[in-house]
Symmetry: C2
Subunit: 487 residues, 2 copies
């Protein structure tokens, strides 16, 4: 049926589970039609809102249009849309920020209430009703399992040759009936290539013909290259000292240009026979697969630029053998992440001198995107990096502060901090030792003296000094930025 | 040999792994002798310090005496000794606070440097050299595996009938060689009852005859009983609504009187055939095993009062069938905690109105004990409670504050907050919804108006309101307490 007809099957007040993870695999027609419908209802003076659960971020055609018409009551678990963000920070919509490995199980447990409808993009439908997943898997399996009704978008733009790339694990259960997940290699298949969907759940099928909207990557800038170099040098040292195997351990890296630069660095570097076990495959990883440096990549989403997508489609038989797309509960599963010994590399907004990391909030109150899977990998991985340029806004903001304005990763979960200035290896250090290490290695020279001054005065304030602080000044850098435009 | 002779085998500058977890199973003679030796060296004007790694907290005979003579350079991963705490907070010794499930693996990975010597209390030695563990297992397996030299304390006061109660798992490995841990039931045995120790590592055996020092529990007070009742009522509601099985899921509960009160409440309540999968077995759990309410208990430590110890020893054959003591990497393992679906109940120092929890720091700078295993269970369990009386210091301190002064558990890991005032169920709520829920249900009446006032003003401050804050006031309650003695 048409998207307009399908959208009208979604009533106000329901919880809707939509496909989509980092701009890949989101439904492209129904959210747009639904937003139009919601606007017309609002124009009649009637309320209409739904709660939207996804895998992670989607695109303007989903988060953007629905937020624009004030159609979202509650959004979870991760978003990165500018309109959505503005509505959340102005108090017009609720947002709940959850570890990506927790979302599916909390839905099964009933912790978010009942899931009413699933809206899922697929690459195709088999004759027996099984679905060929699209460019991301995310929580699609769970949404289909949990929802009473399912709406399918078949995107003809997607190569049906994606068939066979996915690995959907159907071995999960509710406690007390859970079993070990029998995966011991990052590129091991443990499931099946299709999503199962009872035919009687399907209330609509809509056809589309559009590509995912993923921006072109910029070439790595000098800052990203320097961050990447610090990480690569550190890998070499760890290998030399026997704390990492020669081909490292499976790599996870967050989204964005720094992550891409690390991949570019690895692609030119000394390490061979690498594997990745991550959330998102970006262009950088594709390049590494092509060169042979990366033997295989496991993720839940293929988030490729137009160039990357062309490369994939042109060589789909080659990549299908080397890429596995899983459900996000498996790509981010604590059990697997710990067993495989993942090297976790994630971006952040700011870190404090004691190694607490803020990944989500600008100046303590304003959500940026969300925690995503960074906590899943940082907590359970073998080695955990957090990376950022040492300043933002042309130097007006220091990424190293006396106290972070929001904590997403505590001192207990942060091992290595990297900026273009250098790398702080916090393993085995107490808070006071961490402070010196972070300030000396990671702070921008313009802020180093002020940070050392804060630390020294906190150390000599007469207050306890396990974690020295001056409470009246701890958040003053953020206050100063808001008042003067400079920290 | 004598403890004095054995202690002299420990040189200055080494890393020493000692047994001990929550006041149980710590070596009783050697640390005292070592402290005496260190003092005599210091008296000659020479330096002498070691780093002390344990399972968790020990007793005055270990942490107390070594801290007293300034003999500890670095302490990890958890302590609760008053002298130790004072030395840490005055800057005289370093302390590194680590998730208990991380300690053993970080030692294998080499992240803390080389472990030189292990000092381990045991209940007995078999003819072939295998060791009967004492009242706690903690990290003993790892310390023996990793250390070059091992010193054994055989404590004759321990019933050799403990033999068979322990389950030491020898299936761990370094990535990329890790395998699934094949445990699916909380009372399943997956290891062997003895610690293996190569005979050529043993450089000394010392005999002792002393009981563990665990304080008598106070009868649950009114506050603890009310907290326990809120939790039990919540369990009943969750069972009625289908979100928990009738016999609940395996229980984890932290150390102390509130945890003991919850156990006492469960012992008088409606739930049958319970199991526990926790760190520490205290008197309350022993009572539940005796009554038959608790079918089995798995932990890494038996931390019993003198009365509890007598009860255990008098009925050791009964309890040995129902209690399993494991290594702490297994008792707290993310893989197992998630698979079994643990109900996690942990104490805290304070929570903020958005559900961030501080478990470790008084007024942001002063360490209390440490995070222990609370993060292992809160992050990976099925359902996560944090509990505290709503005030401390006779009402001078509110346990609910605008912003916590230190974060150990982020908003992403905290589901349910309980004080004697009530229970805040935060599942599925956004930060602003959480604030109302926590203030209304958990804050003490004396502080409720001030918290609501802060929240309202933050909401109307003109700043972004995903997580409303007034940065200049966020930590002002802690500042006020330090200035005036009252929040």
């Amino acid at each position: 049926m048409s998207a307009d007809e399908a959208a009208k099957l979604i009533p106000s007040g329901v919880n809707v589970g939509m496909s989509g993870f980092t701009g890949a695999g989101y439904p492209k027609a129904i959210p747009v039609a639904l937003a139009k419908h919601i606007k017309s209802v609002h124009d009649q003076g009637k309320p209409f809102r739904i709660s939207v659960w996804t895998g992670a971020s989607t695109a303007p055609e989903l988060d953007g249009v629905l937020a624009e018409v004030d159609g979202i009551e509650m959004r979870l678990p991760y978003q990165s849309d500018p309109v959505c963000r503005q509505k959340i920070n102005s108090g017009q919509m609720h947002y709940m920020d959850i570890h990506l490995s927790h979302v599916a199980q909390f839905a099964w447990f009933g912790f978010f209430g009942k899931l009413d409808i699933a809206v899922i993009e697929v690459a195709g439908i088999l004759e027996d009703g099984r679905l060929i997943p699209a460019a991301s898997v995310g929580n699609n399996k769970t949404w289909i399992d949990q929802a009473d009704k399912v709406i399918i978008e078949v995107n003809h733009k997607l190569s049906e040759k994606l068939e066979g790339m996915h690995d959907i694990y159907y071995g999960t259960a509710l406690p007390p009936n859970r079993k070990p997940i029998m995966m011991t290699e990052p590129d091991q298949r443990i499931g099946e290539p299709y999503l199962r969907c009872p035919l009687d759940k399907i209330i609509a099928i809509v056809e589309t013909n559009e590509t995912d909207r993923v921006n072109k990557f910029t070439e790595p800038d000098e800052t990203s290259k320097r961050i990447a170099k610090h990480i690569l040098d550190f890998f070499s040292k760890e290998v030399a000292e026997g704390r990492l195997p020669k081909n490292l351990l499976p790599l996870q890296s967050g989204v964005g240009n720094i992550a891409n630069a690390v991949m570019a660095g690895l692609n030119e570097g000394e390490f061979e026979n690498l594997k990745s076990y991550t959330e998102v495959i970006q262009d950088g990883m594709l390049g590494m697969i092509k060169s042979g440096k990366l033997v295989s990549a496991s993720a839940t989403s293929l988030s490729l630029s137009p160039d990357g997508l062309k490369e994939l489609n042109d060589n789909i038989d080659f990549y299908r053998e080397r890429i596995i797309l899983r459900t996000q509960e498996i790509s981010n599963h604590p059990e697997i992440v710990r067993r495989l010994g993942i090297i976790a590399i994630n971006g952040m907004i700011e870190a404090d001198i004691y190694g607490n990391v803020n990944s989500t909030h600008i100046m303590g109150s304003s959500i940026m995107n969300g925690i995503g899977g960074s906590g899943d990998f940082a907590r359970n991985g073998y080695m955990s990096f957090f990376v950022t340029p040492s300043t933002a806004k042309n130097g007006a903001i220091s990424a190293i502060v006396p106290m972070v304005s929001h904590v997403d990763h505590t001192e207990h979960d942060v091992q290595i901090i990297v900026t273009e200035q250098g790398l702080a290896d916090l393993r085995g250090l107490s808070p006071r030792q961490r402070a010196i290490c972070i300030i000396e290695n990671c702070a921008h020279p313009d802020y180093k003296a002020a940070l050392l001054d804060y630390f020294d005065r906190a150390n000599n304030s007469g207050r306890p000094v396990h974690t020295p602080h001056i409470l009246s000044e701890a958040l003053s850098w953020h206050e100063r930025y808001e008042k003067t435009g400079h920290m």
